[in-house]
């Protein structure tokens, strides 16, 4: 079972007649339920993994489906046996370059990560709040008078693209171009590999031009910083810079956009939750953390480098263990009532942003982005609902979430009093 075409939101949940769901589990082909999401299916997968928290799927030549919370933490902590070489599975179209940071092991990982710790520090990311608030309101102004929009396309996709462009030193208005690159790397490589390679080539040309330009005229962006950085007394190679560009681009725009779109979809029909967040803005940051648990966008892989037994199964070198966070974040041993969204959940040690040394580099940025996007949207359009004429659409894969969330709302006024860009 290696088909990967994402279908729109008709329910394709199947009756399994007692067949194992794990043996056919394929993250690029998760059946969607009547609500348009795969969570009913994922909860069934989780139930099947309750006895044996790690199972074997036959998809893509076979891989381990890791669904237990403790086992996931154990694997992430065992860096000597589980290599990040296998972080994307099947491997993304990223040319011959290593995906920097995400695809690296120690000691290289830490050396390269320390180069970009500064720009991603909580102090530095907080400085983006004002720009993000303005960008969010500009986007809302562009459709608020229409009384309808697609919150994924016209808000959740754009905000991370704008921010990532700022960080990388790219023009912020070219979001469509970045998303095309991202799709090639993360999806077309499975469905249309030739197209993926061609589009990846286009991206490499753009990245090369950007790097040459920044070498001549350094700016305050991260690529300029990396060009001037050294590891072990050596400047970064062209391949290193390309690997950084790729990982910062997909890491910056894919997860946040999907997660934010899915959160907006929830807020569009969960009126009670929406009103609670409007009444209690102080709840927002913790609620966001619960959204991240509940609507976990990402899965990550690890390549087994030596024979190891974990969760009662023995893994062989060369195999892939896929850490399916949507499953481990719904492990009943770690989360009471895991299938319920509880904004003030405590404790909430979800795994969506990783654990151990590979915790998401952009963790502080994600919080600023989502908190600003949600609070400004609720301020400008406190009442909205799903558009009955246009269905939401879900993206399957290593990063999943809605890519289309059409809504309707009482038309409002663009905020003329606000200072323009």
């Amino acid at each position: 079972m290696t088909t990967t075409e994402s279908k729109p939101t008709e329910s394709d949940l199947v009756v399994t007649n007692g067949q194992s769901l794990i043996s056919t589990a394929d993250h690029y082909n998760t059946p969607l339920g009547p609500d348009g999401t795969p969570f009913a299916y994922l909860e069934a997968l989780r139930d099947e993994l309750e006895e044996t928290p790690i199972g074997w799927s036959e998809a893509y030549g076979g891989f381990w489906v890791v669904g237990g919370y403790d086992e996931t933490v154990e694997i992430m902590a065992n860096k000597d046996v589980f290599s990040n070489r296998g972080v994307t599975f099947p491997r993304y179209e990223s040319g011959e370059f290593t995906l920097m940071l995400a695809g690296q092991d120690e000691p290289e990982h830490k050396k390269y990560r320390s180069l970009v710790a500064g720009p991603f520090s909580p102090q530095k990311t907080a400085e983006f709040t004002v720009q993000l608030r303005r960008a969010t309101n500009d986007l809302i102004d562009s459709w608020i008078a229409d009384g309808r929009t697609d919150l994924a396309r016209h808000l959740a996709d754009e905000i991370p693209a704008i921010l990532t462009a700022l960080l990388l030193g790219l023009p912020p208005e070219d979001g469509d171009k970045y998303r095309r690159w991202m799709w090639a790397i993360t999806h077309w490589f499975v469905t249309e590999p030739e197209k993926a390679a061609a589009v990846f080539g286009e991206m490499m040309e753009h990245a090369s031009a950007l790097i040459e330009e920044r070498r001549a005229n350094p700016g305050t962006d991260i690529m300029s910083l990396l060009i001037q950085s050294e590891v072990d007394g050596e400047r970064l190679s062209h391949e290193d810079l390309m690997g950084f560009f790729t990982v910062l681009l997909i890491g910056g725009i894919d997860n946040t956009a999907k997660f934010l779109s899915t959160t907006f979809w929830r807020l569009a029909w969960d009126v009670e939750l929406r009103r609670r967040l409007i009444a209690r803005p102080d709840m927002l940051l913790r609620a966001v953390d619960e959204f991240i648990r509940y609507y976990t966008p990402a899965l990550v892989g690890r390549e087994v480098t030596e024979k190891v037994t974990v969760g009662g199964v023995t893994m062989e070198p060369g195999q892939t263990a896929l850490l399916w966070f949507a499953l481990s974040n719904r492990d009943r041993r770690a989360f009471p009532y895991p299938d319920v969204l509880i904004p003030e959940r405590n404790p909430n040690r979800h795994l969506s942003l990783g654990n151990g040394i590979h915790r998401c580099l952009g963790v502080h940025l994600v919080r600023v982005e989502t908190a600003v996007a949600i609070s400004e949207t609720l301020r400008r359009i406190p009442e909205f609902e799903l558009d009955r004429d246009h269905k939401p659409e879900w993206t399957k894969g290593q990063v999943c979430g809605f890519h289309k969330v059409p809504i309707v709302f009482p038309a409002g006024e663009p905020d003329a009093a606000r200072p323009r860009r």
């Binding site: 909580p122 942003l353 151990g356």
Partner: protein, 76 residues
């Protein structure tokens, strides 16, 4: 009670200063925190609850809240 963060375990997720901004501030560029109030009076239930919330939500289990020796002797 003594509130501590083990920087060898901490990965700088930043949940402690998100949940309890009165007790933790981000300190280094990796996002690791400094407890601003490392000694909490056991009678200060409000602070104690916030500290416990931070302990219970740390994804790496890097935060500890322990009885200080002087209190232990007096049974506090």
């Amino acid at each position: 009670m003594e509130l501590r963060v083990d920087w060898d375990i901490c990965q700088g997720h930043g949940k402690c200063y998100l949940i309890a901004p009165d007790l933790f501030v981000p300190e280094d560029e990796w996002g690791r925190p400094r407890p601003t109030c490392p000694h909490i009076d056991p009678g200060d239930t409000e602070r104690l609850q916030l500290a416990q919330l931070a302990v219970q939500n740390c994804p790496e289990r890097a935060i500890t809240l322990q009885t200080e020796p002087s209190h232990a002797i007096t049974g506090g």
